[in-house]
């Protein structure tokens, strides 16, 4: 029941340039194909290199297919968040197959359910690597699940593409981090709010686990380095639904900026109660790094309108890559769907892997890991990304203002790509 061998549906159109490239590829292959007799005359795969040359480590690669894994929670409390990632990864795989696959091989995926249970993630990761011989795995969301699978990927030498913005302080040969690490997401946003809103005092709050706590630590260091003040810092258990007390404290301390890193369903309670308590987000500046378009669906746009979010991607980004991406995503998964930051980062995974495999000329994990630094993906919906030596992405940081219709209006972006710095000096 948990294994799903369905090949991704092929009827999707890739980006326009991709389609053209495929046509050219097909035309180039045509003369050769017509000359060859029998089973070798497969136009799309005519130039595919021999399996023995591209796979020397026993991965699940045949002459026409390559197998990868998708490992997310589709049951349990994290299903709400990870559904978007699964959809994005399936879309990317379908588009890549539409273009002729990777090294002439169609991607087949096996989907496993982590079920929001960290030991289970480790089990399933082992299954994907050892039994299924997956050439790459796209998955995980919480830091807890990533920490659980990390030793498995290092022991069995697998390749993981991890899509979530996270706290940093980690780097592995076997992982490509396609979301932002903490400094990329936080520093530019705080600089922006200090400059634009003349903010002098901050109230930090978050859910009580590693990511919000580390992020707030970095935020506090940065705030205090600029001789500004933190007037309060507070954490709540996951799933907390009563924020009246902290809202009272915010009213009493009157901070210039509320800096909120609350995750999941708690957000709904927090923003609804904020509004009910008479805090007007058009007058009171609130910056969040944890509310994407997905969470707004639950919060309700009218409850969060006016808040600022600081991340690298918003569905409303105005560029041709993103337009094609949003259109393809909605065509595959429905018009009413929304796309948040992590969903986009998950979409990058299969594409970066394809580009890396083609640069390396091999599916072998060691070669893919070695070829990863410097890989560029100009067609990324967020604009353009490049893989750093430390396996994180260079990316722009953007500030979006929440609107009542549930979308963000992008009001600021860094001029240049920010360098990923998972081990920031002085912030640990």
């Amino acid at each position: 029941m948990s294994s799903d061998h369905t090949p991704a549906s092929p009827e999707l159109n890739g980006p326009r340039s991709a389609l053209r490239r495929r046509l050219l590829l097909g035309m180039a292959a045509l003369p050769a194909a017509t000359l060859l007799p029998g089973p070798l005359s497969r136009p799309a795969y005519a130039q595919a290199p021999a399996t023995s040359a591209v796979n020397t480590t026993g991965l699940a690669v045949t002459d026409s297919t390559v197998r990868v894994g998708i490992l997310h929670s589709v049951t349990g409390t994290m299903a709400i968040s990870e559904t978007g990632s699964v959809q994005a990864e399936k879309l990317a795989i379908a588009q890549i197959n539409e273009m002729g696959g990777v090294l002439g091989r169609k991607i087949e995926f096996i989907q496993e359910d982590g079920a929001s249970d960290w030991p289970n993630f480790a089990e399933k990761a082992k299954k994907l690597l050892v039994n299924d011989k997956a050439a790459a795995v796209f998955g995980c969301w919480t830091s807890a699940s990533r920490k659980a699978v990390l030793p498995v990927f290092e022991q069995y030498n697998g390749m993981l593409y991890y899509p979530t913005f996270y706290e940093g302080l980690e780097q592995s040969k076997n992982v490509i981090y396609t979301g932002q690490e903490a400094t990329q997401q936080i520093l530019a946003g705080i600089d922006w709010v200090v400059k634009e809103k003349q903010a002098k005092s901050f109230y930090l709050l978050g859910s009580d686990y590693i990511w919000p706590r580390t992020s707030n630590k970095i935020a506090r260091k940065h705030i205090e380095k600029n001789s500004l003040k933190v007037v309060g810092e507070e954490y709540f258990p996951l799933g907390h639904t009563q924020f009246n007390s902290v809202i009272n404290k915010i009213k009493l301390t009157k901070p210039d900026v509320i800096y909120a890193i609350i995750v999941g369903g708690s957000n709904v309670a927090f923003y609804k109660q904020l509004k009910a308590a008479g805090i007007d987000l058009s007058k009171q500046t609130l910056v969040t790094i944890s509310v994407t378009e997905d969470e707004i669906l639950g919060i309700g746009g009218e409850n969060i309108a006016g808040a600022y979010a600081c991340m690298k991607y918003f569905q409303s980004l105005d560029n041709p890559n993103n337009k094609a991406f949003v259109q393809a995503f909605k065509k595959m998964w429905g018009e009413s769907i929304v796309i948040g930051d992590v969903t986009q980062a998950a979409y990058l995974g299969p594409w970066l892997w394809k580009l890396t495999v083609e640069k390396a000329g091999s599916f072998d994990v060691d070669k893919v890991a070695a070829a990863s630094p410097g890989i560029e993906f100009p067609q990324a919906p967020e604009g353009y990304v490049r893989v750093h030596e430390n396996h994180h992405l260079w990316s722009k940081t953007r500030v979006g203002k929440a609107k009542a219709d549930g979308q963000y209006e992008v009001i600021y972006e860094t001029a240049d790509l920010m360098e990923p710095d998972p081990f920031p000096k002085g912030y640990q």
Binding site: A79, I80, N244, V268, A269, D294, L297, G298
Partner: protein, 308 residues
Amino acid sequence: MFEGYTLAELGSIFAMQGFAGLILFSVFVLMALGLAIIFGQMGVINMAHGEFLILGAYITYFTSNFFLNYIPALFSAYFFVAMALAFVGAGALGMLVEWAMIRHLYRRPLDTLLATWGLSLILQQFYRSVFGAREVGVELPEWLIGSLPVTDVIEVPINGLFVMALTLMITIAVGVLMYRSRWGKQVRAVMQNRVMAGAVGIDTERVDRYTFGIGCGIAGVAGSAFTMVGSTGPTSGQLYIVDTFLVVVFGGAQSLLGTIASAFVISQAQSTMEFFLSGSMAKVLTLLTVVGILMLRPQGLFVLKVRR
């Protein structure tokens, strides 16, 4: 812990926290009443209580959408319709569950725990398949949004007042039903001695079914009310179940008065501590206190004297 505040500030802090505590108290009572009836009166440990609550929330969501799309003129009144539908919907499902599952498990409380836990998983998956894994947002009518300013620091959220009023009404209704009506007498008779109650002509099966149904129906109304402050998703019900059991057990399972008293104590303690300590710390201290008191008084705050 009080340093840094002036006396006037401390005054408004306690006023605000007291009020925040009252809202929390109402939420606790709404969550716990349905459970207390089922657990206290029938001895069934209903682990699916949170899912009945979320059913009420989903019904509210669909009612609000229906009003928004088809009769927008009456949108400001949809909440009352939604609460009635939530009561009927959750109550009907409750009676169905009682008939199909619970009635075979009376006198085996640990088995009801397992069976209803399974039921909660089934319902969660059902919600996920039917409504989708993502959370949904329920739009509130205009009159429920905003707050009444009392002083320049103290403001009273209107939906908080609404929840408090609703809690008061439901509590009085349940009180009258249990202690003043013929049906309430039957429920208490069945609970105290099932065989004897049957012998004097009470239809015990029917009483069980309606009791379970009403308990679940109240959970549905609570879920409907929580759409104002909480999240609505397939697993949101899980967020409430621990707090709910805490309130019921601390109060003494068989006493509705105990449930209310324990909700009051826990909510006020937590609210006041939350202000001077951190949110997580307040929760830990509350739990420790409850555990400490339960060790001294295992039967809870209030005990019903019953001859065994």
